[in-house]
């Protein structure tokens, strides 16, 4: 039923429809609303049988999810940012052991400086952990992806992370069509584990593997992700046939026909980009958008196919590899090997900075004039950066840059650092 609800609520209700048997989580913004809502449903007995386990940390949350999944239970958790980093070792273990846990990642910047707002640095920090990572463009897609995520995870014995932009999606109230229980039950069969800790048929899970077989185990994990490149679109198609909704899949193109410039992005910023593209199209610019839903596995072939006709490819990403540049751009560049194109990276929206339609329109105009640099930081205040560089040049004890920049912006209430000789 179509309802006007908060994104977190829509995800929580959809997760409940997936009948998880163990939910464990530790609160962290902006994920908290999701797990609170699931917790209330478990306590009210609306979600039975299901055990909600309060844990003492994110590391414990993922460890409990691993234990639950290994006993054959459908396990779910959610986190953000530093929470994800704190569970990092267990995140790798979940994938390495092939346990089909589903986790919502409410994307948030990683500190320092501490920042609770949205960007993709948390998701990028775990891109090599072996999880499937799907990015939602809207709250409707975030909700729908969870049903597809459980199906995919359990079919392939691979954990799946559904990434949704923190605050921008999790705290936005908009129309979301929540699925019926009967549909979810038919779409998502009961979990049939490939490996299970069963006292009647004992096995051990988590063997130490030396050089004799380690590479093969890891290669098998790679093959399962390659299998996912086939299963993700197939599951999305089955979902679309039943619901009429184009949620999930590998990549989605918008107004790419005859496009000179194609913009590539992940997540909710795609909506704002589409609005900017419509306006630039009206002005006669041949520009389109390619949204990547499946970041891991990376659909290199589909990306190449979607982008190969463009003269210029502009990757707009909410994270970057300090000391180098784009993260998503690097993957796109690998996918475009052998194709003649100009690839540009635009880092935008870090730490929750608004990505405005106007800035995107200007970006498209600049790209249209072939004046976009290889690496651009959208709406960066170069003056503020230069002033801090000057302070650092003037005196050795220039103090912490974060505090200095806040003072420069006039938002810090603290007194300036005393001039040091």
């Amino acid at each position: 039923m179509l309802r006007q609800i908060e994104g977190s609520r829509a995800v929580a209700e959809t997760v409940a429809l997936c009948r998880p048997e163990v939910v464990c989580a530790y609160p962290i913004s902006p994920q908290t609303h999701i797990i609170e809502a699931v917790g209330v449903m478990v306590k009210a007995g609306e979600l039975a049988p299901c055990e909600f386990i309060n844990v003492e940390s994110e590391f414990a949350a993922m460890s409990v999810a691993i234990g639950a999944s290994a006993t054959g239970a459908r396990a779910y958790t959610a986190t953000s940012s530093q929470g994800l980093l704190f569970m990092m070792e267990a995140v790798h273990n979940a994938a390495g052991l092939g346990l089909p846990i589903v986790m919502t990642l409410a994307n948030r910047a990683i500190g320092a400086p501490i920042n609770i707002w949205n960007d993709h640095s948390d998701a990028m920090a775990v891109r090599d952990a072996g999880w499937i990572q799907l990015f939602a463009e809207s709250n409707q897609e975030a909700a729908d992806l969870h049903v597809q995520a459980f199906r995919l995870a359990e079919e392939l014995s691979v954990p799946v992370m559904v990434c949704m932009d923190g605050f921008i999606l999790t705290h936005a109230v908009e129309g979301v069509d929540i699925l019926d229980q009967s549909f979810v039950d038919s779409f998502l069969p009961p979990y049939e584990p490939r490996q299970v800790l069963d006292t009647n048929d004992p096995v051990s899970i988590g063997a130490m593997v030396g050089p004799e077989a380690f590479e093969e185990v890891k290669y098998l994990a790679h093959l399962r992700q390659l299998d996912a490149l086939v299963r993700i679109p197939a599951i999305a198609k089955e979902f679309a046939d039943a619901t009429g909704r184009d949620s999930g899949g590998l990549v989605r193109s918008y107004r790419t026909e005859d496009a000179d410039i194609l913009i590539v992005a992940l997540g909710s910023v795609l909506g704002t980009i589409k609005d900017a593209v419509d306006i630039r199209r009206e002005a006669g610019e041949r520009v389109g958008v390619v949204g990547i839903t499946s970041f891991r596995p990376f659909p290199a072939e589909a990306v190449r196919e979607a982008l190969c006709q463009a003269r210029q490819v502009v990757v707009v990403e909410k994270a970057f590899s300090i000391g180098f540049g784009g993260v998503l751009s690097t993957d796109v560049a690998m996918a475009m090997q052998g194709v003649e194109t100009n690839l540009r990276t635009v880092v935008a929206g870090l730490g929750g900075r608004s990505i405005t339609r106007r800035s995107l329109e200007e970006l498209i105009e600049t790209a249209g004039r072939d004046e976009l640099e290889t690496l651009t930081f959208l709406d960066l205040d170069h003056g503020a950066v230069e002033r801090e560089r000057a302070r650092m040049g003037e005196t050795r004890r220039s103090g912490p840059s974060a505090e200095n920049l806040l003072r420069d912006r006039g938002t810090a209430a603290t007194a300036p650092v005393k001039e040091q000789a």
Partner: protein
């Protein structure tokens, strides 16, 4: 304020329109300025940027009007609704609103309506009633229904009463303005 934007979006949704409500995040501690946004449209709302050019600004706390840049992006045809018992021209804006349409600049003692009907200084519902009367973008019936969806029982009842009082107040002030301009 966050709740007000959410209720407004639900009311618009109930009337068959598309709506998106979201808070400006992070500063939600007691005493800090809080901004919340609501978009209403007949088409799918795809953008995720904050509202940069509002058609209407509702100010819940009148003490903020000279501290925070509240009216950036507001067009001359925009609506302004301020929660205060004072008149709009007593708020010290100088000539800032000279080129705006006077019938779209309105004050409403929403906190007083809330104290009277709800018993607590929570002016959200009353401001939405005032907004409905001022802009005609949403009906009082839809506000009524959305407020009751959010607050069950007596609390809903009382908030609806506050909203209705503000709706009548703003409606009659609008009528006064129309009479004054035709005379």
């Amino acid at each position: 304020m966050v709740t007000a934007a959410e209720i407004l979006s639900v009311a618009a949704f109930d009337e068959g329109r598309r709506a998106q409500a979201f808070p400006s995040f992070g500063s939600e501690r007691t005493g800090a300025p809080v901004v919340s946004f609501c978009r209403i449209d007949d088409r799918e709302i795809r953008t995720r940027e904050p509202v940069m050019e509002p058609d209407a600004v509702i100010i819940q706390d009148v003490t903020l009007i000279h501290q925070v840049d509240l009216f950036s992006g507001l067009s001359k045809d925009g609506y302004v609704l301020v929660n205060t018992s004072r008149a709009f021209d007593e708020l010290g804006f100088g000539d800032f609103f000279d080129k705006f349409r006077p019938e779209r600049l309105m004050t409403c003692p929403a906190t007083e309506f809330a104290l009277e009907h709800v018993g607590r200084p929570l002016p959200n519902a009353a401001l939405l009633g005032g907004f409905a009367a001022l802009t005609g973008q949403i009906t009082m019936e839809a506000i009524d229904k959305a407020v009751r969806e959010r607050f069950a029982g007596l609390v809903g009842e009382r908030n609806v009463a506050a909203a209705a009082a503000a709706f009548s107040y703003v409606t009659s002030k609008e009528e006064e303005l129309t009479r004054a301009s035709t005379n």
